[in-house]
């Protein structure tokens, strides 16, 4: 006798894409736009699709890796420095070798980023040092390496290949609202979605995050999981270095990717990835990254200086985790 509840339902394991959390973030997005609109109606023009699609992709990209790490109860605060170092290293190659193949440059940046990520990951996996310590060291070490590498110079727009700059200027369609920058996010969003939901390593990320001790007893390849998530995140940070170069037209160790880890982690946490491990999905994270974009544009519309941003991100992290924890306690007590 088979259970009807299971077999009648073909959509059995299709994930609920739009859960309560995602709706919540969408509601927040509209709420912020509405509030700002009441004071400054020109928010609507500022909030052009083009602007939005330019702002959030770089954050969303790295958040896709960061979310995997946070699902396993880890954290990577070195992504901003990794982004800067990888972008700068490839930028220097572009500068010193005019005509260097830009596609090769993208691949190279991802490799460098992945190398740094794997370095973090192998220390965490093999020496069992807490991720916050390892990546905090990475945060300052990779930034320092970028300063040394730049040796007082910076990469500016005229040294960057046009193909790279075009990533954030033009797109595959006639109107240039949807740029290649956005296409990158779509592609990596799909890849990340498939990894998390349809591959063994991806499911293992949830399993390990849900109960690390039991995962060990059950014979899961824990070191492989850790290496994968930090390596993948590193590769995405490296790619983000190139996209940053494209979007802003410069790479400068004193500016590029500063506080980037905070914004990324904000997106992940707000997107519904539990800091207690084991749960979260990519749609929520993408929406949350978009929401941070709305915040950013709202600030400039209202005329608040961008100095406000960091305080707001910090507040969002704290408020989200507080609310999540209260909800969790409430659910547990029922």
């Amino acid at each position: 006798m088979l259970k009807k509840s299971v077999l009648n339902n073909n959509k059995f394991f299709r994930l609920k894409i739009f859960g309560v959390r995602e709706l919540g973030v969408v509601a927040l997005i509209f709420l912020v736009i509405l509030i700002v609109f009441l004071f400054q109606p020109q928010i609507v023009s500022q909030m052009s699709i083009r602007n939005m699609l330019q702002w959030f992709p770089i954050i969303a990209l790295v958040a896709m890796g960061e979310m995997m790490i946070i699902i396993t109860r880890g954290i990577d605060v070195s992504v901003g420095s990794n982004l800067c170092f990888s972008g700068l290293a490839v930028g220097l190659i572009f500068r010193d070798n005019p005509g260097f193949n830009p596609i090769l440059g993208i691949g190279l940046a991802m490799l460098i980023g992945m190398g740094l990520g794997l370095f973090n990951g192998s220390i965490i996996a093999y020496l069992k040092i807490p991720p916050i310590v390892v990546t905090l060291a990475g945060l300052t070490a990779y930034r320092g390496m970028a300063f040394l590498l730049a040796n007082g110079s910076q990469i500016s727009a005229n040294q960057i290949p046009t193909t790279i700059l075009d990533i954030s200027r033009i797109g595959p369609f006639n109107q240039n609202t949807i740029t290649y920058l956005f296409i990158f996010i779509i592609i990596f969003g799909l890849i990340t979605y498939v990894i998390l939901n349809n591959t063994r390593i991806g499911r293992n990320i949830y399993v390990y995050g849900s109960n690390p001790d039991a995962a060990l007893v059950r014979g899961l390849p824990i070191k492989k999981i850790i290496l994968f998530i930090y390596g993948y995140t590193g590769a995405l940070a490296g790619l983000a270095g190139i996209l940053y170069m494209s979007r802003f037209g410069f790479v400068n160790p004193g500016q590029t990717g500063i506080n980037f880890e905070i914004i990324t982690i904000t997106a992940v946490v707000l997107g519904g990835v539990s800091v207690y491990g084991g749960s979260g999905n990519i749609i929520g994270v993408l929406l949350a990254a978009f929401f941070l974009g709305v915040i950013n544009i709202s600030l400039s519309t209202v005329g608040l200086p961008h100095l406000w941003e960091d305080a707001i991100y910090g507040f969002i992290i704290l408020a989200t985790v507080t609310v999540d924890t209260i909800i969790k306690k409430f659910e547990d007590s029922r």
Partner: protein, 506 residues
């Protein structure tokens, strides 16, 4: 059906020790295909350790393991899993964020032949078939975290079964199951047996165990006392094997005349943990909560001490109802609890002897908010000499002390608070004999000074020697209360396995 077949697993002269204390001594043990082998014994007899050695979780100090006649060494659980050896624990090892179906296949998600991607359809189908065969009805999409303990246990069992286990070790898995669930579990076990699996069943409900087993093996204090005896052996003979040790070198407590009632517990209930618990502890009295692991003893202590909430009932101290919500409340009422796991709850392992000793009463040692080193040292000197603690310097981290000396420090910490009631959870577990006697002497002295002691102990000789009264628990309820000459290992064990002696006639 006597052994015409060869054993799947054969253990040869296995020795195992933790922190220098031997918990398994010279064990020979075989698992045959198509046989259910029950393993029984008191708490701490070494049953779980034996299961964990076979499952690759622990590695024995000495001895050999043969799998199908070939010597093997499992250095981790993965290797045992690869050889189709599965261990199911009393505490289910589950993943709260995963769906039931995914949990079952967690370490071997089936992939699509072409793409290599996880085949969710197959998972849902196979999981649904598996649970049907277990006669269980679940919404397989439900998160495991939302299930009851019994259901989690089922998921754990389904996981082991789905791996086609040749050897299945079940360590007290029925503790949280209802009798219907146990029945369907037994049906599954018998099916597996028919298919040629070797099953080791560790349990504490003797009747239940004997009804399903083909052979019974009994461990006592890490030694094999009865090997492969038939399950229809008389119950009192089995109990004799479990508890019938020679009594030697036991501390004999001085009897004190109990005074007024100190702690009174009335009809304490906590869902799924214990029900209708009432007892009292008087001045100068040692009351022992006996019972097997998981019978709810520690849970009661934790509720009295404010670590775990309870649902109904009252706690009175010297006739007055008290409200204890946190350990701080309990200490304020001069009730102190000494936890079982010293390392995890009782001591700060990296702190010095001095700082550990002064921790509980740090407030009393302070002058104007600053801790007075003079008073702190005086306190340490007092207890170190009183307790005969062996040490190099008082600034030595307690990590480097022996288990017995650590325990003395934990007890000193309690004493420094000058409690009225002390709850001691397994006060002498893992302590060598000489220090055990000192701990018993201390308990005796405490008692004499008017303290009421509630002791939780699985060490039957200790229970018999130290207790004025014994309250025996079985699965969250009190099943027996003994005093005076009625305090015998046999009486306690009968009540602890959930039956009264009168009822047993076989």
């Amino acid at each position: 059906m006597e052994n015409t077949k060869n054993p799947i697993i054969q253990l040869n002269k296995i020795w195992m020790a933790f922190n220098g204390v031997y918990v398994l001594k010279d064990i020979d043990f075989e698992i045959y295909p198509g046989e259910i082998h029950a393993l029984i014994g008191e708490n701490g007899a070494g049953k779980s350790t034996l299961a964990k050695i076979i499952g690759g979780i622990h590695q024995p100090k000495k001895g050999e393991i043969f799998l199908d006649g070939k010597p093997v060494k499992f250095t981790n659980p993965q290797q045992a899993i690869k050889n189709k050896i599965a261990v199911i624990n009393q505490e289910p090892q589950v993943f709260p964020d995963l769906s039931i179906a995914e949990s079952v296949f967690v370490n071997r998600l089936p992939g699509n032949r072409i793409t290599g991607l996880v085949d969710w359809k197959k998972i849902s189908q196979e999981a649904s078939e598996l649970f049907s065969s277990l006669n269980q009805e679940f919404d397989l999409r439900k998160k495991v975290g939302k299930l009851s303990i019994a259901d989690r246990q089922m998921v754990d069992i389904a996981n082991a079964l789905s791996q086609g286990a040749r050897v299945l070790l079940m360590d007290e898995v029925t503790a949280s199951l209802t009798s219907n669930e146990v029945e369907s579990l037994f049906k599954i076990i018998r099916d597996l047996k028919a298919k040629g699996s070797g099953i080791v069943f560790i349990g504490h409900r003797l009747e239940e165990v004997c009804s399903v087993a083909d052979k019974v093996t009994i461990l006592r204090d890490g030694e094999l006392v009865a090997n492969r005896i038939p399950p229809d052996t008389k119950m009192d003979k089995i109990i004799y094997f479990m508890v019938g040790r020679e009594v030697k070198n036991l501390f004999i407590k001085t009897k004190h005349k109990p005074g007024k009632v100190l702690l009174q517990v009335n009809d304490l209930c906590s869902k799924d943990r214990f029900q209708h618990i009432s007892f009292e502890v008087r001045e100068k009295e040692i009351v022992c909560l006996a019972g097997l692991v998981g019978s709810g003893r520690t849970e009661i202590a934790e509720s009295i001490y404010g670590i775990q909430p309870f649902d109904s009932g009252t706690i009175e101290l010297e006739g007055k109802k008290i409200n204890i919500r946190t350990p701080q409340d309990a200490i304020k009422h001069e009730v102190y609890y000494l936890p079982e796991d010293r390392q995890a709850h009782g001591l700060l392992m990296d702190w010095s002897i001095l700082n550990n000793l002064s921790l509980s009463i740090i407030g009393l040692l302070a002058k104007l908010g600053f801790i007075s080193a003079k008073r702190e040292n005086a306190l340490a000197d007092e207890y170190i000499s009183k307790m005969k603690i062996t040490y190099r310097t008082v600034s030595q981290p307690v990590r480097f002390l022996s288990g017995g000396n650590q325990q003395k420090i934990v007890i000193s910490k309690c004493l420094s608070t000058k409690p009225k009631v002390m709850i001691l959870d397994e006060p002498t577990r893992g302590i060598d004999v000489s220090i055990k006697a000192e701990v018993h002497q201390m308990m005796n002295d405490l008692c004499e000074s008017g303290v009421g002691i509630l002791m939780i102990s699985s060490d039957l000789p200790e229970v018999v020697a130290m207790s004025d009264r014994v309250i025996v628990m079985h699965e969250g309820s009190i099943t027996g209360e003994f005093q005076g000459t009625d305090i015998t290992p046999e009486n306690i064990m009968f009540a602890a396995v959930g039956q009264y002696k009168e009822k047993i006639t076989c």
